[in-house]
Symmetry: C2
């Protein structure tokens, strides 16, 4: 996103942003593609039904009605939350650089905490007493070092990290709505974090978190942060997912070593094998981050333009749609492979995939891959 | 050492080896240089008084009398120990490759254990219960993998490593005489190790270990081994000295991670930062060692010849002796620097340094450095 496109929105413009991201089959990546193609959310909203229809959607795509978006914005105001769009100056700069940055964040608390560079601290829910102590100490010292500590407000390490950072700024990134406290015993912590920092979410207020929301939330903790510290984590744990996101996003990964006899150390030791920075104290984190140049310049994966449309891409024809849909299967396939196997221009492939996604006939997977979505056979009545 | 010089010695020849290494100011490196220069220990013994005198030794260098060496050999036989010389086939091949390999090892127990490839397992004396368990488990599995476990029979990790390896072969390398049990509670272990493996030492039987013997002993544990595993070690501990020797000797270094809150994990975590292989189980060790080519070929630091003299080096004159002694100071200096600053041929510098060392006027330091030894002012009476 070019600097000149970072600017505050009017309330009406922000409502259009909100409407577009709340439409059926529109996720952050599709949102950004629509913005690239149509220049602004209002234009994209107009084009949406036609795009979905072209890819063969039998029924009308469900758009978010203006009244729905207005109701969400009103509820946010009432809860004291601010909605911040991706293009606005208050939006966290590092997060904005992600391909799949949320177009709208809801923020409870102070925006200043989000303006400081962040360090994620995550780990096991069933952390040991030592793990909690370690998380608390690291968080306190990293916060003293001038960083906002980001975590997920889960039990165990996350809770200890927020507690350790307080009363300095800390940011809780929630999987459900920013106002939905989980686990329930963190009610007081939820309030304290808002006083000293912020609670944020990409989900509408009031959303009860589901299992599938947690990995998506984890990409935001790492995406917000210059680096992520993992303190105790089992193999195949959410913390390792966060660490993987951090690696994919080009963030630093730090891990606290532990005894191989403790299953809660397996994940961290695994990360250390894979090249994570061995972390015994906050100094290990601060020295690496202090030596980094502040991430600057235009983030490469961002679109060139948001408020002015690109030159129109060639319109895909029916033959191309059929060919590309045939190439997709239940197993996700790389977009590069679709381009190669179809021998079509890359812009055409992207255009068709966007339409298929909007029509609910294809699903985007991590790593720029797509799978075909097979509908259950329709009831003949 | 070329293959053709590895051969069993007669008892008389072995006595000469023993005499030479027991002479005043003769350590393993000087021993090897004398061997290179004079072809065999008997010839070196003859030349020794003259060499020491040339460097200005005021009094006669103390040689080891034949009767003394015979008494040591007899005591060894009585204790059931074998004396093995560096050039004999039973001498451990990896150890032989060291610049400062002991010319004579005394061995209690079986020589077969020393013929198998070894893995060192070392660590804290005050190890935690977990550390001991880890050492025991690693040792058992590494021994099952076909390696002899080498350690130092100290309290804590060392004891657990020997116990874990038994009844499979394990080698204890002692700082004092091979027959001097330390700590005393390891009396039974000392006996068991001899049954299944060996207890070895470069010191004469009966030697009570002194503090300064321990670091020298540590170089033998690493020197014997393809790799050394460190299980719990504080900063500035003997285990880290062993790990440093292992690194200098080109051996693999493995370290078991631990919580930064435990001071006994600091040394291991430090090694991991420095590139040691993170070790959670024996498989981590076995896979690295299994992938290594067996160390073969002539070890580079070994002399070209043992039983036939090199062409005689140019005899250093008095002017050269004075010049070189002047270049040495209380602070150890690199031999390379002595060569550069003296502008003398390298063989001459080595010759003078050998003489000075034998005369007790210079002291060899690690890293091929020498310092001048200043005598306390002589009593004018």
């Amino acid at each position: 996103m070019r600097e000149e496109f970072i600017k505050p929105l009017s309330d009406d413009q922000r409502l259009d942003w909100l409407r577009l991201i709340r439409c059926e089959n529109v996720g952050p990546v599709v949102f950004r593609q629509l913005l690239e193609r149509f220049g602004n959310p209002a234009a994209a909203l107009k084009a949406l039904p036609d795009l979905a229809r072209r890819a063969g959607s039998k029924r009308q795509i469900r758009l978010c009605a203006p009244a729905e978006a207005e109701a969400e914005a009103k509820a946010a105001r009432k809860a004291g939350a601010r909605l911040v769009a991706l293009c606005e100056p208050a939006y966290p700069a590092l997060l904005r650089a992600l391909d799949d940055a949320p177009p709208i964040l809801s923020v409870l608390g102070s925006l200043e905490a989000l303006a400081r560079p962040c360090v994620g601290i995550v780990g096991a829910r069933n952390a040991s007493a030592n793990g909690r102590r370690m998380a608390e100490r690291l968080a306190a010292e990293i916060a003293e070092g001038g960083y906002t500590v980001a975590s997920g407000m889960a039990r165990g390490v996350d809770t200890a990290a927020h507690r350790g950072a307080l009363p300095q700024p800390t940011v809780a990134v929630l999987a459900g709505g920013a106002d939905v406290v989980y686990p329930p015993e963190n009610d007081a912590l939820h309030a304290e974090i808002q006083t000293a920092g912020a609670v944020i979410s990409e989900m509408p207020l009031g959303t009860v978190p589901q299992a599938r929301h947690f990995p998506r939330r984890n990409r935001l903790i790492s995406g917000l942060s210059l680096g992520v510290v993992v303190v105790e984590a089992a193999q195949r744990s959410g913390s390792l997912i966060t660490a993987r996101f951090a690696g994919d996003q080009g963030r630093e990964v730090f891990a606290v070593p532990g005894s191989p006899l403790d299953p809660r150390a397996r994940g961290c030791n695994h990360l250390l094998r894979d090249g994570a920075t061995l972390t015994e104290s906050a100094a290990d984190v601060l020295s690496v981050l202090g030596a980094m140049r502040p991430p600057g310049g235009p983030p490469s994966p961002a679109p060139d333009s948001l408020d002015q449309a690109d030159p129109p891409a060639p319109e895909p024809g029916d033959a191309e749609r059929v060919l590309i849909e045939e190439l997709l299967g239940a197993e996700p396939i790389l977009v590069d492979d679709v381009v190669r196997q179809s021998a079509l221009p890359i812009a055409v492939v992207h255009g068709v995939l966007l339409e298929l996604e909007l029509a609910g006939r294809a699903e985007r997977h991590p790593g720029n891959r797509f799978a075909r979505l097979y509908k259950a056979p329709a009831n003949p009545l």
